[in-house]
Amino acid sequence: MHLISRITTKPMLKHSGLLLVALLTLAAPAFGADSVVPASSMPWWFWPLALFVTCFLIGIVAVPAGIGGGTLFVPIIGGFFPFHLDFVRGAGLLVALASALAAGPMLLRGGLSSLRLALPLALLASMSSIVGALLGLALPASVIQTALGMIVLGIVTLMLFSKKSEFPNVAQPDSLSSALGIHGIFIDGASGQAINWQVHRTPLGLLIFLAIGVMAGMFGIGAGWANVPALNLLMGAPLKVSAGTSGLVLSLVDSSAAWVYLNRGAVLPMIAVPSVVGMMLGARIGARLLNVLKGSVIRKMVITLLLFAGIRALLKGLGIWV
């Protein structure tokens, strides 16, 4: 049975990737570097449908690759669809928010998400995400597009070279984390062991989360790619707790920034709803395929996609590839 799933899901995933590239190529004539993106000649219903299919495919590959769908959403949709980047970022925040909300309760019940760790970080990051969102909506689209390209290429570098530590060694918690009582126990599903954890470098972690909030609000890309290394490698939380807590922080950070976009009229249901629903359905399938897929293969595929989307965003922002 396991073998059969392996045989059938691998080509399926390969086809998902190919389909995604084909869709992006199809959407290529919609490119534009100026503030106003050239209008498309396709009927109105084509784009929400293409958006739904693209997000469904992104959802499938995002989970096994260990990356939030929002991180893929903005560079891909912003680069290859005829929507203005303002609306893409608004939808991107909602995609990241909906994904975080969908996974949050399960992670909390499973003890993989820590409120004591998440809440202080989320307080600072949600404040700075409002600043980021306001900045993002005030700056010219070309500047945001260029910065987005650089951020995405930075994420690619991070994905390629950053290390992960399953259970980092925290010899002694810092005084702030001790005062806040940031520690906990989680049951590791793989070994069945109860793992006691604590964190260090909390003041630096708080500063990093201030910066993460600005980026999340400005680019609408969620921030799981930055949250997890900050929690795991910098603060010393176990990898699974870092991933679970990251979702909880995201749900609060993206909520604050989403309100800014909503109040400024930068959320179009015609773009946001197919994206959210497609991503959620795709992520469900991705989660089911998690055990039968080879994570490293999917990760390489997603890195290639991100690299392509990052270069595209950078060149589009600079007006080189329009």
Partner: protein, 143 residues
């Protein structure tokens, strides 16, 4: 020796997590259902949109300020007056999703106060304040 009447730190954390998870779960489900129902009513023509569907491809490529001007779409909470319109009704579900962290945060405060954890009760209150300010449009010039 452990006093069995006093919950341990791990048990207290679990209690907080369960309360937060339950309230978040319901809010998120409600938001997604509202989102799907309103969108179906929008695209299948049950509710007339504020911006005609055929006009969308000519305006969704504009910066948000130009879009709002061209379509006479209100900012801030102004959309509530037009919530019967197909496109703007979608913002109900989106608002529920963006606001569904508020009830779980409110639900945590009594738990923290009960165990005299005033720091975390304050942190929750501050996050709620940030979210409410963001939603109100006061910080963002939405009104």
């Amino acid at each position: 020796m452990t006093n069995t009447n006093t919950p341990t730190n791990a048990q207290q954390q679990q209690l907080e997590a369960l309360r937060y998870a339950q309230l978040l779960d319901w809010g998120a489900r409600l938001g997604v259902v509202a989102l799907i129902v309103s969108f179906a009513a929008y695209v299948f023509g049950v509710l007339t949109p504020h911006v005609p569907l055929e006009q969308l491809p000519t305006v969704w490529n504009l910066p948000v300020a130009a879009y709002l001007q061209q379509t006479a779409t209100p900012t801030g909470w102004g959309w509530l007056k037009l919530a019967q319109k197909g496109d703007l009704s979608g913002l109900i579900g989106i608002s529920i999703l963006a606001g569904c962290s508020l009830p779980p945060l409110l639900g945590l405060i009594p738990l923290y106060l009960k165990r005299r954890d005033y720091i975390y009760a304050t942190i929750c209150a501050l996050i709620i304040t940030v979210l409410v300010l963001a939603a109100s449009g006061v910080l963002t010039g939405g009104h």
